[in-house]
């Protein structure tokens, strides 16, 4: 308690106040960072219990428990990240979507879908080997995107191919084969026919991408637009439920030499 004496002592009182004022006005930053330590830690603990959080989550979980029903089986674990310009999961998803959409589109408009392009960023999870539930499909495709068909000029399709060339991501495709040699577009096959820039093409995609999502601007302002309005995830769920066992694999449909 000794320093208090200074404060009580009249002789020091003024000087102390001046010092305090100076101290407060000059001392801009009280503390400075001396050292920073960073650690990124894996969150992993399967045995820990927490009743309070469980009680909070349980009512929500109960409402969506039907999604845990098994709808099919996958022979292998599939991922969107297991290739360079294609992937096992991307191929499967695009193949299912085009297979299911072709008859619908044909029946509605008497026209034929040529190929399908979705986006890498729209596939958010892996499909594990074994049982498949609806819940899995929600984690793979959480977005409520719907299928859409656009009629594009060959020039716009060329822009699409250049986009794939530049993006260097495994965007899911079906019905189109592309070979790049280095940065050069070497060979493009659509529906077993050589791509012709003077032709027009019916391309299946999602409403999100058609509106310019992921900067796929070639889908904007198409020659013709046919919103099929079916939720893409529902198409996948129905297909898997129908087929029971599914196989997805890479087949070099988009490749760079």
């Amino acid at each position: 308690m000794k320093p208090i004496l200074y404060f009580n002592n009249k002789k020091y009182k003024n000087i102390v106040i001046v010092i305090i004022i100076l101290f407060l006005s000059c001392n801009n930053y009280n503390y400075q960072i001396n050292n920073i330590k960073v650690e990124n830690i894996i969150v992993l603990d399967s045995i820990v219990k927490n009743e309070e959080l469980d009680n909070l989550v349980q009512p929500y979980k109960n409402k969506i428990k039907d999604l845990q029903k098994i709808i099919g089986y996958s022979k292998k674990s599939l991922s969107i990240r297991d290739g360079i310009l294609e992937s096992s999961l991307g191929n499967l998803l695009a193949d299912i979507l085009i297979e299911e959409s072709k008859p619908v589109f044909n029946k509605m408009y008497s026209k034929n879908i040529d190929f399908c392009l979705l986006n890498f960023g729209g596939v958010r999870g892996n499909l594990n080997k074994g049982q498949i539930t609806q819940h899995h499909l929600f984690t793979i495709m959480p977005f409520n995107n719907t299928s859409t068909v656009v009629k594009l000029t060959g020039k716009k399709v060329l822009e699409l191919i250049k986009y794939i060339n530049k993006a260097k991501l495994a965007h899911p495709t079906s019905g189109i084969q592309i070979e790049f040699i280095g940065e050069k577009i070497d060979k493009v096959i659509v529906e077993n026919k050589k791509f012709n820039v003077d032709d027009t093409y019916y391309v299946l995609t999602s409403n999100f991408l058609q509106e310019g999502g992921d900067k796929m601007d070639f889908f904007k302002n198409p020659l013709e637009l046919y919103p099929l309005k079916t939720n893409i995830r529902d198409v996948l769920i129905n297909y898997i439920t129908k087929k029971d066992t599914i196989i997805g694999k890479k087949d070099n449909r988009i490749i760079r030499f």
Binding site: I19, Y31, I33, I42, N126
Partner: protein
Amino acid sequence: MKRRYFIDKITSSTIFGLAFPFISFEKIKFNSKKITILHTNDVHSHIDPFPSTDPINPNGGGIIARAKMINTFKKENPNTLVLDAGDIFQGTPYFNFFGGEIELKLMSKLGYNASTLGNHEFDNGIKKLAKSLKHANFPLLNSNYTIKNTPLEEKIKNYEIFIVDGIKIGVFGIGIKLKGLVDKNLYSGIEYLDPIEISQDVTNKLKNELKCDIIICLSHLGFNRGYKDGIMCDLILAEKTKDIDLIIGGHSHTFMKNPVKVKNLKGKQVIINQVGCFGINLGKIDFYLTENKISKKSSSIKV
């Protein structure tokens, strides 16, 4: 009592400074403090852990394991902030069916102090986002979206100041350009402002007006994609601004083993850290601070 202790400390130390103005203060240990920042990003509605059969992250993540970890670190150091860098929403049926309610309730229970707006926060539109915010007891921060005259007005703060163990910590949020990422009808009325200009304004205020000791940016710009083409990302933000100490990143789902250190416009170090996605990892950053002796010494000499 606290006030008296404060006066005690000042008088004794300043008198000491008066008597020995040229003494090396390095040898005198004043208060040194430790502030811990725990952080996540892009959790994307992942509440349950990954199943034990998952080939990449068996049993990984999960809200309960994260809660336990946060509590343990808080016990180790009560002077802790828990932060998140956005994309809380979208990724599991919890979001499709309940619109973000459960995610925000759980984060509130876990003691999160602040988060920011990721692009997926807009997946159900501005109105529903604004409505869901009532389930969060912590602020969502953003400085570079114009939210005036939208339902988010007055619900999103520019920045928040936390005083932890006497240390003033300024936290602000920066969001990514929504065009091309989000359906334009879902964010109508919001415009994206240049992250660099806005960050300079906000940090100037936090540093020079509000005298923050630590400045943290919760960024949903993504780490480095587009860096070569000059497209805005955390690396550019760090290099082209002045007073950010730490960028907690998101959006690019970058699993960093070690944080990235960048020199800012002043040549000062900025740390960028990001922990991937889905709550698989938790970032832990310890700031060690000491009293700034230089300014104290100069004030003593002046007297």
